[in-house]
């Protein structure tokens, strides 16, 4: 019995330590950087596709990077990095109040970017990739509409 108590105590201590580790002054800028990086990468792909003669290697590399970034989105939202911290953030408290829905929306982005990544390895034809790109943008928007404070 004693061992159970020790383990439980240790687990509690670890959980507390983990929670204490989230510094909103670090986590929030890190999230903003991560989101901006997604935006930059996505724009890079779009600029290629809108230009008429896309560079297939650049499109494929961008799509691969985008899929990597998208998978990390849930990790950008640790508990304790919401508006309750008082640090300026556009992330709504609902993210942590409805974790299942938030995770589903993040998963939709990961799926959409993975599909784009897969297709971009085969072709850089703008007409072919357009629906995949639109699905990615739609996934961004679906989550932002629900969980992000509008800028204006």
């Amino acid at each position: 019995m004693r061992i159970v108590r020790v383990v439980a105590l240790a687990a509690c201590a670890l959980a507390l330590l983990a929670a204490a580790k989230v510094d909103p002054n670090v986590a929030i800028p890190a999230r903003q950087m991560g989101m901006k990086q997604i935006g930059r990468t996505f724009k890079g792909i779009n600029d290629q596709l809108h230009g008429g003669a896309p560079d297939a290697a650049a499109v494929a590399a961008g799509a691969h990077q985008l899929a990597d970034l998208a998978r990390k989105v849930p990790s950008l939202f640790p508990a304790g990095s919401g508006p309750e911290t008082g640090v300026k953030t556009a992330a709504k408290a609902d993210i942590w109040a409805q974790p299942a829905d938030f995770r589903a929306k993040a998963k939709a982005l990961a799926t959409a970017t993975a599909a784009l990544d897969k297709m971009a390895r085969k072709s850089a034809d703008p007409a072919l990739l357009q629906p995949f790109v639109a699905r990615v943008g739609g996934a961004c928007k679906a989550c932002h509409t629900t969980y992000k404070v509008p800028e204006h």
């Binding site: 901006k36 724009k43 779009n46 008429g52 928007k141 932002h144 992000k148």
Partner: protein, 230 residues
């Protein structure tokens, strides 16, 4: 020399018996009312997530603005910047009532016109380079700038809108002032193109010049709307 309203100081009103003369040509009036309609339309479409229509409205406004700038050097007398944009001394003389108001824009009204055209030019220019946070909607020239710049530009695009709102409010307030205090109906003149004034008529540009100006403005707007890729 500008043509004067009959026997007028700035504080007196034109005699009702003065003959009707042409003051605004058709292109100037069409451009004016099209801009007046498209600014609220642009705002409405942007607020209702109709960015396709918003962009189309912006491209149309770009064409109208370019036309107005060309018309400002090649159009009819009252449309020309060189004729109605005046320095501080002329503005002072007009405000003190020592000088009769010219037919067309007054020296103080000219400031308002220049400010409104400049704000509109800034707003259209910003919109061309803007991008939304989802990378779904973007101006046709956003491919020339980075994501971070395009986002910064999008923020400014939202701010300049309120500058336009303020200038439009001032414009409407001035029109009401002339209507209620000076007894002059500027709206009717901008619809019919005519006002009551003495003196010889104004020089009106031939219609073919408007066609050429519209062709040039339209071609530039089309090129920009399609990404200005050579």
């Amino acid at each position: 020399m500008p043509h004067h309203l009959q026997g007028a100081g700035a504080l007196s009103e034109p005699a009702p018996a003065a003959p009707s003369v042409r003051v605004w040509d058709a292109p100037t009036r069409i451009v004016h009312w099209a801009i007046a309609l498209l600014i609220p339309w642009s705002w409405w479409t942007a607020s209702h997530d109709q960015l396709g229509r918003h962009r189309l409205s912006g491209y149309t406004l770009l064409g109208l603005l370019l036309f107005r700038l060309i018309w400002g050097v090649a159009g009819s007398e009252t449309a020309r910047f060189a004729r109605f944009v005046k320095g501080p001394r002329a503005i002072g003389r007009y405000l003190s009532g020592r000088e009769p108001p010219p037919l067309g824009h007054s020296p103080i009204g000219a400031l308002s016109i220049v400010a409104m055209l400049a704000a509109l030019a800034a707003q259209i220019g910003l919109g061309l380079f803007a991008i939304d946070e989802d990378g779904l909607e973007e101006g046709p020239l956003s491919h020339f700038v980075s994501f971070d710049t395009a986002r910064l530009v999008a923020g400014l695009h939202h701010k300049v809108f309120w500058v336009i709102v303020a200038l439009a409010a001032l414009h409407i307030a001035a029109i009401l002032f002339y209507r209620l205090v000076r007894g002059r109906n500027l709206v009717a003149a901008m619809i019919t193109g005519r006002t009551r004034a003495a003196g010889p008529g104004l020089a009106m540009a031939p219609w073919w010049r408007a066609v050429v100006a519209a062709g040039v403005a339209g071609a530039i707007a089309w090129f920009v709307a399609n990404g200005a890729r050579i």
